[in-house]
């Protein structure tokens, strides 16, 4: 028995040593070792997978060119919940040198002194307001200072299925529409949507012309298409009881009133996730939706036939892009089963309205290599680099100057639509509100109450207005208390 136990113990020990040795030899290790003599800039970014690899490509190019020349080496690290982890690391005094956040965090982080201001460094590199499209520049600033520069910008447009428009041409015509073009006003969008709706034998929604819930990512920004916003930055007041804001959310509600909230939520439950083949727009069960320019990439990945409607059916992505170079933009567009157009405004005065969002590069407060970190951010903001990453991620540009190459040979043949939208005076970004994450949660539940018909639009918005204004006032009061405490301490 003793011998058996000893043998068992020795076997287990041997296995453990072997496993440790295998781990040492083949186990995980640093993928790249920074070259000696260079300042290492740590860069935390949200992207993984293809998008992460594409950003890594930009980082490698920087390291092999500007980085080599100036003695800088950027180390890219994909980090989940990058906003929270950046904040915790900043509080602990060990922040990354560059962090890739979302637009929603600029005001919140800046108000908490979590970011380094970039004004002077940007100015020294020639990056000023003229260099950016106004909507994006403004969104990178908070209380008059610049807190971040964009890595990839985007905007929202109406995406529509041209094939289904053709198949249901008669129904669209009967509704007073023109199947050869997308709707141009909200009222026309509603008519198209109703004409395109299809129900199954049990009366459930089978095909939806348009559904505010799908994908529902931009519902909080609906007032933009009604010439309003939910927050007035000048008076620092929420404007949820403004007539145009009420009108915007009442329009969302009208879909619930027409289709029934259960019909809408059931349709949503049956639809697949965004990045799968069951995405209702890709599956042809949703004819029109609000989406960003990245849609061309996702369609290419999940349902490539939609990007090869009439020709190039057997060509792979790169071969198709090469073949498309010989075509005009109009000819290219004709080969796509879907189209993109400005999302219709409620009034022609708001033509060109869109929500302009972006991913942003910031330098967290306490970064040890600010100057070197900014060198990288400035590199990403060079026109040719910005156009490269935006082409890879299938997004528009945030810069004033855009090359013909970018406009004509972008993987998304509708990129001009997005470029025009973000250049419009009616383009808007997330308002500079320091409690924006709280606002989004409050608005999401308010919007749910509206489309589930739990409360009237006015009631739901009035309650949200009171709550949010109270939260904001409390935030401002605490900021003032802090300033007073700081002044007292200095005295």
């Amino acid at each position: 028995m003793g011998l058996l136990l000893r043998q068992l113990r020795n076997t287990l020990l041997g296995l453990f040593v072997l496993a440790a040795a295998v781990l040492l030899v083949f186990g995980p290790r640093r993928s790249t070792r920074p070259p000696a003599g260079r300042v290492v800039v740590t860069y935390w970014e949200k992207w993984t997978g293809t998008e992460g690899a594409q950003m890594q490509q930009i980082v490698d190019e920087f390291n092999n060119t500007v980085g080599r020349e100036k003695g800088i080496y950027v180390q890219y690290l994909s980090v989940s919940n990058v906003d929270r982890k950046t904040l915790v690391a900043t509080a602990a005094g060990v922040p990354p040198d560059v962090a890739g956040l979302w637009d929603a965090q600029i005001a919140q982080f800046a108000a908490m002194d979590a970011l380094e201001p970039l004004d002077e460094m940007a100015r020294a590199c020639g990056i000023t307001s003229d260099y950016y499209k106004p909507v994006y520049w403004k969104a990178c600033t908070y209380e008059g200072r610049l807190w971040g520069l964009i890595s990839t910008p985007w905007a929202v447009a109406l995406h529509y299925n041209k094939r289904i428009f053709q198949e249901k041409a008669e129904a669209i015509r009967k509704a007073g529409g023109d199947p050869s073009r997308p709707p141009r006003t909200i009222e026309e969008l509603d008519r198209y949507a109703e004409a395109l709706d299809e129900r199954d034998e049990m009366g459930r929604l089978k095909v939806a012309g348009y559904l505010p819930l799908e994908p529902g990512w931009f519902m909080v920004h609906t007032p933009f298409w009604f010439g309003a916003s939910i927050y007035d930055e000048h008076s620092q007041r929420f404007t949820l009881t403004d007539q145009r804001v009420i009108q915007a959310f009442q329009w969302l509600r009208s879909y619930s009133e027409r289709l029934g909230p259960k019909s809408m939520t059931d349709f949503r439950a049956g639809a697949g996730g965004f990045s799968g083949t069951l995405n209702p727009f890709l599956a042809g069960t949703l004819v029109m939706e609000q989406q960003g320019p990245w849609m061309a990439n996702y369609i290419e990945e999940q349902r490539p036939s939609m990007n090869r409607w009439k020709m190039f059916k057997d060509l792979k992505r790169n071969e198709k892009l090469a073949a498309e170079r010989k075509l005009s933009v109009e000819e290219r567009r004709a080969n796509y089963e879907w189209g993109a157009a400005p999302f219709p405004p409620s009034d022609p005065a708001y033509a060109g309205a869109t929500f302009a969002g972006f991913d942003v590069l910031v330098i967290p407060a306490g970064s040890k290599h600010k100057k070197e970190a900014f060198e990288f951010i400035a590199y990403v903001n060079r026109q040719e680099v910005m156009e490269k990453i935006c082409s890879l991620h299938c997004k528009n540009s945030c810069l004033t100057k855009v090359s013909d190459e970018f406009r004509n040979h972008h993987p998304n043949p509708y990129i001009e639509v997005f470029e025009n939208l973000v250049s419009s005076p009616n383009a808007r970004a997330i308002p500079p509100c320091p409690i924006w994450p709280e606002v989004v949660d409050e608005m999401n539940s308010t919007i749910q109450n509206i489309y589930l018909l739990n409360a009237t639009t006015e009631e739901a918005l009035r309650e949200a207005q009171e709550r949010l204004q109270q939260k904001l006032e409390k935030f401002k009061e605490r900021q003032a208390q802090r300033r007073r405490a700081l002044a007292d301490a200095r005295r």
């Binding site: 904040l87 915790v88 900043t90 908490m112 059931d266 439950a269 405490a485």
Partner: protein, 303 residues
């Protein structure tokens, strides 16, 4: 204390120091700090600003324009948590006890049935949440498919209808009763057979034996499970976070979820700490009530 005893104490302390240091650094200190932070405005980057009872006032009794008091989402999340506990706690206790009684009956394949009942408890919370999301899916889910085959024309949107979302989550919580069943089974096997024999001689039937012998004898186990269930249901977080995210329209926003949002989305650490202390006091109070009531219904064999 003699020198030898001191040396012994030193050695003892040295042996337990890994746990002791870990407990002090990672549990006791954070708990004490959270009490301090609950009286401050603290957003990680800026040092805590003392605000007295302001966080508690804002949560519970600050007046609002419509005659309401405190943070409506705080009260709503507290109400939701109690609503869930009122369904999940008794249902969980009854179902687990019932299953344990059935599994205690000697029959062929008893071990297999016990394994089947226990298996779901081994499935990670995230995996079972994903599984139940599909089961509850209003259009493609098996539950609604079964209801429709039974002639229900318009079965509910389990997770998308504010009226059904909470009962659905409470129902789903029964999926993980395996652990409790095992504890009940251990208690049931500890009941002396001579008591059943004596009761049988006295003419007690099955129900009387259950009521007058089994339940009093396993009452300490029931009490233990009750305390654990109170704590568990009032702290529920991961499953509803994955399945509903607190929606629709905050109908399933639990206390812990709102606390998490305040701490990690809105970065209001002081406010979240105050919420954590209120939660602790509520759980303490309910546990104290359970302990007080136990004098009347919990019977220990030694006494």
């Amino acid at each position: 204390m003699r020198a030898a005893e001191l040396r012994q104490l030193g050695k003892g302390m040295a042996f337990i120091s890994p746990w002791l240091i870990g407990f002090i650094v990672f549990t006791l200190l954070p708990v004490a700090m959270s009490l301090y932070y609950s009286f401050t405005d603290f957003a990680l980057l800026k040092g805590p600003l003392p605000v007295g009872l302001d966080n508690y006032r804002e949560l519970m009794w600050e007046p609002h324009p419509r005659g309401r008091f405190g943070d409506p989402h705080f009260w709503n999340s507290l109400k939701n948590t109690f609503y869930y506990a009122a369904m999940a706690l008794p249902a969980g206790m009854l179902v687990s006890l019932g299953l344990a009684l059935l599994l205690n009956v000697r029959l062929f394949g008893q071990a297999v049935y016990r394994t089947i009942i226990f298996l779901p408890s081994l499935v990670p919370a995230v995996a079972s949440a994903m599984l139940w999301m599909w089961l509850f899916n209003s259009k493609l889910g098996l539950i609604n498919a079964a209801l429709m085959s039974l002639g229900v024309k318009d079965p509910p949107g389990w997770l998308s209808d504010p009226r059904w979302a909470m009962p659905a989550l409470a129902f789903m919580s029964l999926w993980g009763v395996g652990h409790t069943v095992v504890i009940y089974l251990a208690g049931l096997q500890d009941v002396p057979t001579e008591l059943y024999e004596a009761a049988e001689i006295d003419g007690a039937g099955r129900w009387r034996r259950l009521w007058h012998v089994t339940l009093p004898m396993i009452s300490p186990v029931i009490f233990f499970n009750l305390i654990m269930a109170i704590i568990g249901t009032l702290q529920v977080f991961a499953v509803p976070m994955i399945m509903t995210g607190g929606g629709p329209a905050r109908a399933t926003q639990f206390y812990t979820m709102y606390l998490y949002d305040n701490a990690f989305s809105y970065l209001k650490m002081g406010y979240a700490s105050a919420m954590a202390w209120i939660q602790l006091l509520i759980i303490l109070a309910l546990t104290a009530v359970a302990f007080w009531s136990s004098r009347h219904w919990v019977h220990y064999q030694g006494k």
